[in-house]
């Protein structure tokens, strides 16, 4: 998910070409107070005008506690944003309040109720503690994300390269998202020139269970995708596992062995996930299969 400042028309005009899975137009922290209205208008017109192709369109709005939150939601729902991202989510009530505003806007602009999805960014200790309640607060919610900068400030610590200060929050968010059966997206890595560390961090959060990572520069997309893309070896193995499992199913047998290892349900699920990722990342193409 690529962050795009909502006040930068040059970046908005072709943000979709770099191959990120989602775009997050930001009306919040990257836009100064005096440009809030202009950015809202700009993102509205960009969403109405530009064909962003297969990229999912997310807008990070200002919190409802600010004078801009309500107008942001109205404009973005009207513009047809697919997902509204709520920043600094602390409680389930924040989600419910936001949902009410979205629903009101959907009614106002004749948009089917429920079409606009939501994403919640957890950026503080209270949000982490309430992660599961937040993740299950609304059927519109498709993902929760970690916002590390605010979280670290709130925790009275700072960000380190190895990320020990984030370990608990990351774990809590992954577990909450999995329990709620929604996606979880990791925070940004802000040193755009340090690709090696970006790769290390991405490998670590993938291992924790995250579905994806936020990026702030198009140059970070490729390294992140590389980490998440299954290798040809993993893909081949997944294919063999699924073939063995289908064969076992045909024979009416629940368990099967492959290369001397037992293939049970979790192994099959992991193999399916590998292939899903492989197709999504275009590491393999369905029509290529034999």
């Amino acid at each position: 998910m690529l962050f795009v400042p909502g006040n930068n028309p040059g970046m908005m005009s072709d943000a979709h070409i770099y191959g990120s899975d989602a775009l997050m137009f930001d009306l919040e922290d990257s836009v100064t107070l005096r440009e809030k209205d202009a950015a809202r208008l700009l993102v509205y017109h960009a969403l109405k005008t530009i064909h962003y192709g297969d990229c999912e369109r997310v807008v990070r709005v200002n919190p409802l506690s600010t004078p801009f939150g309500k107008a942001d939601i109205e404009a973005m729902v009207a513009a047809g944003a697919q997902v509204i991202r709520l920043p600094k989510t602390e409680t389930a009530q924040d989600i419910l309040d936001m949902e009410a505003e979205i629903e009101r806007a959907e009614k106002q602009f004749g948009i089917p109720i429920g079409q606009t999805r939501m994403m919640a960014a957890i950026e503080g200790a209270l949000g982490v503690v309430n992660a599961y309640a937040i993740a299950t607060a609304s059927p519109r919610l498709v993902a929760i994300a970690l916002g590390a900068e605010d979280y670290c400030a709130n925790l009275k610590t700072s960000r380190s390269l190895e990320g020990s200060e984030l370990l608990y929050a990351r774990g809590a968010i992954v577990v909450a998202a999995r329990a709620a059966r929604i996606d979880c997206i990791d925070t940004v890595f802000s040193d755009v020139n340090n690709e090696d560390q970006l790769i290390k961090e991405t490998q670590a959060i993938k291992q924790l269970g995250f579905d994806g990572k936020s990026v702030i520069n198009p140059r970070q997309i490729k390294p992140v995708h590389r980490v998440f893309t299954p290798t040809q070896k993993e893909i081949a193995k997944a294919n063999r596992i699924l073939a063995a499992s289908r064969e076992a199913e045909a024979r009416g047998s629940g368990v099967v062995a492959l290369d001397g290892k037992m293939i049970d349900r979790p192994v099959v699920i992991r193999a399916e996930r590998t292939l899903e990722l492989a197709y999504a990342s275009r590491a393999v193409f369905e029509e290529d299969e034999v």
Binding site: G10, S13, D14, I17, Y18, T49, I50, H51, N217, P218, R219, R282, F285
Partner: protein, 512 residues
């Protein structure tokens, strides 16, 4: 020597006289002075530029030429023109291989009637702007590097006097774009374009700030072609002639275009063991070299040669053994110049060898792949590299049409938009390279293949590289930028863009 009957019979048969020492005035007397004294006494060095000009026989109305290997650091053109103006010359015809920002002082010489006509590959900066506004009575004629070489060879451009700057020259005229004696004050590497001038000009004056010992070999320009040598304070500003290695772009658009282009090359059908290539010096086309390098290593593919404007990136491929030979008509950066000086598989070539349109064997015709940048491309694949979106002259034809016509696969790279201007559009301002010689366009928002090359489109699609009709790319750009207003062109023709054979491709009009 016995001068018997047989000797005289042989003389009669050959219709020759017998050798008598000192008899033939055309033979030089044996001279026992040491070389160092001879160099001091019998060299081609003339005490001043004025003297060299007098000796060259330059007259009003004649054609003079320069090379552009010193790029924006060049001091030669301005120095010579100031001198000629002071000496009272008028109506001179200039035929430099190219002009750049630094040549703005020519405006005054044009206004004062010292210069009446200019033929060049390119023009930039204040001079270009003034020409676009109608400074000259005679339109500026633009030729490609190959077109210029052919025009000179066929005497369509007759160079009366060539003024050629050199980073080093020995007292007899062996000149180079670098020095093998200690540190040169400035280096430009290849003298490829200047070599044609040296060969065909009636009179050749080398200007240098670095006289070195004889023989300055291997030479860029042979002493055989040089008439006079003039010492100048400096031939140019070293920091503007070239610096380090051309740096890789970190612009994500450039990188994306470069990576897509590399993928296009790999799957085009022209990526095989022993293929040949040329890439330009623009951000994106330079970065192609880097991505292609990875693909060459991964697939164990080597190139037989790389051509062109050589960059440090290409030198790296030579040194890593991924490319076997470099043919260098122009060195783009210090790394390239150093390599030309030190690596015997890095060969200096002249513009005729590079791109003469009438020679089947010209190096451009041996290219499998060329990657070229563009200011604008139209839906017929015509390319403009000469005039900006404001209609002002601001570029150079260079080897663009030569390499596009020569290479088996000509790939043009260009962002879909620059700022608010669409770069893929229905019509380009100025046609520099005709669309029938352009095969693939790679933009940051998609790849288009010329319908003349369906087999290439098929190969790319088979490799899951999405091919988009060029009209669709143009529409996509227009949807965001809107349709630009027509430019305020007047009726005066200020520039003529010629094709490689001298035929007229397009006209450039003045801006009101």
């Amino acid at each position: 020597m016995t001068q018997d009957q047989a000797f005289y019979t042989a003389l009669n048969a050959l219709n020759k006289a017998a050798y008598v020492p000192g008899e033939n005035p055309r033979l030089y007397d044996k001279d026992p002075v040491p070389l160092k004294n001879r160099m001091a006494r019998e060299n081609k060095i003339v005490e001043s530029l004025e003297k060299a000009v007098e000796l060259s026989g330059l007259q009003n109305g004649m054609t003079i030429s320069f090379h552009h290997h010193f790029r924006d650091g060049d001091h030669i053109v301005n120095l010579v023109m100031d001198t000629l103006a002071r000496m009272g010359f008028r109506d001179l015809r200039l035929a430099p291989s190219s002009l750049s920002d630094v040549h703005a002082p020519l405006i005054q010489h044009i206004k004062n009637g010292v210069i009446s006509h200019i033929e060049t590959s390119g023009c930039r900066g204040a001079l270009a702007k003034a020409v676009s506004q109608g400074l000259m009575d005679d339109p500026m004629v633009f030729r490609s590097h190959g077109g210029r070489a052919a025009a000179i060879e066929e005497d369509e451009i007759h160079i009366d006097v060539a003024f050629l700057g050199a980073s080093s020259c020995d007292p007899f005229g062996n000149a180079n774009g670098y020095s093998r004696e200690g540190e040169e004050k400035s280096m430009c590497g290849s003298l490829g374009y200047a070599r044609v001038d040296a060969q065909y000009a009636d009179s050749v004056i080398v200007l240098t700030d670095n006289i070195v010992g004889y023989p300055n070999v291997p030479f860029g320009i042979s002493q055989r072609l040089v008439d006079y040598i003039v010492c100048v304070d400096d031939v140019g500003d070293a920091s503007k002639i070239m610096t380090g290695a051309t740096r890789f772009s970190t612009n994500p658009h450039d990188l994306m275009i470069a990576e897509m282009t590399s993928n296009v090359i790999v799957h085009s059908g022209y990526f095989y063991e022993g293929f040949s290539l040329q890439t330009g010096s623009g951000g994106a086309s330079l970065a192609v070299t880097r991505f292609l390098r990875e693909a060459m290593i991964e697939k164990n593919i080597h190139a037989s040669f790389a051509l062109g404007g050589i960059t440090g990136a290409m030198v790296k491929l030579l040194e890593e053994g991924l490319v076997s030979r470099l043919l260098d008509v122009q060195s783009f950066d210090l790394d390239a110049a150093q390599s030309l000086k030190n690596n015997r598989f890095h060969q200096q070539i002249d513009a005729n060898y590079y791109a003469n349109p009438y020679r089947r064997g010209a190096a451009v015709n041996q290219l499998d792949v060329v990657v070229l940048s563009a200011l604008e491309v139209d839906t017929s694949f015509n390319v403009n590299v000469l005039t900006g979106s404001d209609g002002v002259i601001r570029g150079a034809v260079g080897g663009h049409p030569d390499t596009a016509a020569g290479a088996s696969l000509a790939i043009v790279v260009c962002p879909l938009m620059r700022g608010r201007m669409p770069c893929v559009r229905d019509h380009v301002n100025t046609i520099v390279t005709p669309g029938n010689t352009v095969d693939v366009l790679v933009t940051d928002q998609g790849i288009a293949v010329n319908p003349r090359r369906p087999e290439v489109a098929e190969r790319l699609e088979k490799a899951h590289l999405k091919v988009t009709p060029i009209e669709e790319l143009a529409r996509r750009a227009e949807r965001i930028t809107g349709k630009p207003d027509p430019l305020p062109f007047g009726d005066k023709v200020v520039g003529i863009c010629t094709y490689r054979d001298g035929s007229v491709l397009d006209l450039i009009r003045n801006l009101t």
